[in-house]
């Protein structure tokens, strides 16, 4: 007989309590793992989106706030306050390819969609667009639309049909091949047509810039700022802004997970305290046959730690499964925030290691007080307990 064997017998003696205590810890840990996995998934997806955007620099009006800037990633309508005249100034810099965007909002079947004005001549090269069906615009004055692949699928639209924008019907002349980012969710028209329809004069929303030599991105930025009064952000900077906001979302998620863990730890304390009262006589028996206080303390601590270990392992499995199966459901909401994104749970091995370690640590801390109480019972008060 040894301490471990004795503890395992104690734990498994009352199977109902064992299972419910374990579930209490496991569910707390599952919430922790699932929320971290989904948070990690969002982070990874935002990186994908940023890299898929194809711009190294984003040129925006000077008065845009961070929210406006990150709306470029999320497909929200953007202010049209940048004069298109800055485009020529930027294009005069060597090694730069620039594409203007004018993002406005409309609706198809009462569902909001982004109407994006593009420069017909540069856009195909800038975004590597291929046509899945129909054709691309032929001039900047074409009063027709090209649809992103997802929009075409979502509203069952195809070449020859019509999209109504601001009361005017525009024929669909082409549908793009899927690109795998926000471009799949746009309704595209030539910039002058959008400017006229939305009455924004000669203005655009922002300019995407690709540079020839990414290493020298700072000198390109300086050159742009030297020529025109605009704000220039690198895609990395925008990414950081989004991730910073996501960071606060993650902190909230982790706080929820932490509350689950605290609840689970009180579950352990409760179970162990109840165990002390139930097993008072047993503690007395062990003391009468010669166990020391430290032996009783070890028995109760080991019991807590085993709960923590098993709860951590079970919780990690449940958490991983939940995040894998829940990702598509949560995706429905995430899709609204970040159009075209596909959310997948991102379960890092380190998350599992941390979860199990944390679970054991919490269980050990939760077990300290009950173990101390148990070890401080005098043999006679324990043995005399009826």
């Amino acid at each position: 007989m040894n301490t471990f064997k004795l503890v395992v017998r104690n734990i498994t003696r009352r199977k109902g309590r064992f299972i419910f205590t374990l579930l209490g810890i496991a569910i707390g840990m599952a919430a922790f793992v699932a929320l971290l996995a989904l948070g990690g998934g969002m982070r990874a997806e935002i990186r994908n989106q940023a890299h898929a955007m194809g711009s190294n620099l984003i040129v925006t009006p000077t008065d845009w706030c961070t929210f406006d800037q990150i709306s470029i990633f999320t497909g929200e309508p953007l202010p049209a306050s940048l004069s298109i005249s800055v485009l020529d100034e930027i294009r005069s810099i060597d090694g730069i390819l620039a594409a203007p965007y004018l993002t406005q909002a409309s609706a198809i079947d009462m569902t909001p969609v982004a109407v994006i004005g593009v420069e017909v001549g540069t856009m195909q090269e800038f975004s590597n667009w291929e046509m899945a069906d129909g054709q691309y615009f032929s001039t900047d004055t074409d009063r027709s639309v090209v649809l992103g692949s997802d929009i075409a699928d979502q509203f069952d639209l195809g070449v020859g049909q019509e999209v109504t924008i601001r009361g005017e019907g525009f024929p669909v002349i082409g549908v793009l091949e899927p690109v795998g980012n926000l471009d799949d969710l746009g309704v595209y028209l030539p910039i002058p047509v959008v400017q006229e329809a939305f009455e924004v004069d000669d203005n655009i929303s922002y300019i995407g810039v690709q540079v020839e030599n990414v290493e020298e991105i700072e000198s390109y930025t300086a050159a742009i700022l030297d020529r025109v009064n605009v704000a220039v952000s690198s895609d990395e900077q925008l990414l950081e802004s989004v991730l910073a906001i996501l960071g606060s979302v993650e902190v909230t998620l982790q706080a929820v997970a932490a509350i689950s863990l605290i609840a689970a730890s009180f579950g352990i304390i409760n179970t162990m305290m109840t165990a002390i009262y139930e097993r008072r006589r047993e503690i007395g028996i062990l003391r009468s046959i010669g166990s020391k206080r430290i032996d009783i303390f070890k028995i109760f601590m080991l019991e807590s730690a085993i709960y923590g270990l098993l709860g951590g392992v079970l919780g990690s499995i449940i958490g991983a499964l939940v995040s894998l199966f829940a990702a598509p459901t949560i995706m429905a909401g995430f899709d609204q925030i970040m159009k075209g994104a596909s959310l997948e749970a991102n379960i890092e091995p380190m998350t599992i290691v941390i979860a199990i370690g944390l679970s054991v640590a919490i269980a050990v801390v939760a077990g300290l007080y009950p173990a101390w109480k148990a070890s401080n019972l005098t043999p006679v008060e324990a043995i005399s307990y009826e």
């Binding site: 007989m1 040894n2 301490t3 004795l6 017998r9 104690n10 003696r13 006589r281 047993e282 007395g284 028996i285 062990l286 003391r287 009468s288 046959i289 010669g290 166990s291 020391k292 206080r293 430290i294 032996d295 005098t378 043999p379 006679v380 043995i383």
Partner: protein, 247 residues
């Protein structure tokens, strides 16, 4: 201090058969509840010879069990001394006292006090976890535990849980457990108090056999069947030692 309760010392102290293995001097135990102080023992001085078969008798609630708890180191006296085999209990810290219980004293209780989730043989092995006298490895522990079960005639019940055993059988397992670390003293609190007459006879037989091996047996009892066999009777009344009868 630990060395004073090791085997070596006990061998040194051993020797004269008539020497007292248990001595108490002016033993007082009070319990305080709020402002009320209740005396359980009011100055008990006694000597129990090595290798004797003694009974502590007296009416219920007069301090017999308290005396046994103090002799066995399960509780501390309010004042006075208990000396076990030359070792003054008051001088021992909790760890040393635990070691003394593990190595020198075996307990048998009225309600058997077996661990319900362990089998008979495992209950005996558990007692070996805490003593330096006990075999260290689990194979040797198992051999010794089975040997003790054979001694009390229950080798065929080695793997039965307490709830699968009769009261008499449970008490015999409890006796086997008390012998796990080969203690010199067996302290028993009403060992037959919860048994039918047939089981009582079986248990009594075991006790006499064990005493015959040279162990000091001290039994707290109301049962005259048991006390009639005692060599010395200590009668405790109103927390005091009322009489000592040697036979």
């Amino acid at each position: 201090m630990n060395s004073s309760i090791s085997n070596d010392t006990s061998k040194n102290v051993k020797g004269s058969e008539n020497e007292a293995i248990i001595k108490t001097h002016d033993l007082v135990k009070t319990y305080t509840k709020g402002k009320i102080e209740t005396y359980a023992l009011r100055g008990v001085s006694m000597e129990i010879p090595r290798g004797s078969f003694s009974c502590i008798i007296g009416p219920s609630g007069h301090g017999k069990s308290t005396l046994m708890h103090l002799i066995g180191g399960l509780d501390r006296a309010s004042s006075g001394d208990v000396v076990i085999d030359g070792i003054k209990i008051a001088d021992l810290n909790d760890n040393e006292l635990s070691e003394l219980r593990a190595s020198k004293i075996g307990f048998v209780f009225q309600f058997f006090n077996l661990l319900q989730n362990l089998t008979a043989v495992e209950n005996i092995e558990t007692a070996m976890m805490f003593s330096k006298n006990a075999p260290g490895n689990s194979k040797e522990q198992r051999v010794k535990a089975l040997e003790l079960l054979r001694l009390v005639g229950l080798e065929d019940k080695a793997h039965a849980k307490p709830n699968e055993l009769s009261g008499g059988q449970q008490q015999r397992v409890s006796i086997a457990r008390s012998l796990a670390n080969d203690p010199e003293i067996l302290l028993m609190d009403e060992p037959t108090g919860n048994l039918d007459s047939k089981s009582e006879e079986e248990v009594l037989d075991q006790l006499l056999k064990i005493h015959a091996t040279g162990k000091t047996v001290v039994i707290v009892t109301h049962n005259t069947e048991v006390s009639d066999r005692a060599e010395i009777l200590y009668e405790v009344r109103d927390g005091k030692l009322n009489s000592v009868t040697k036979r």
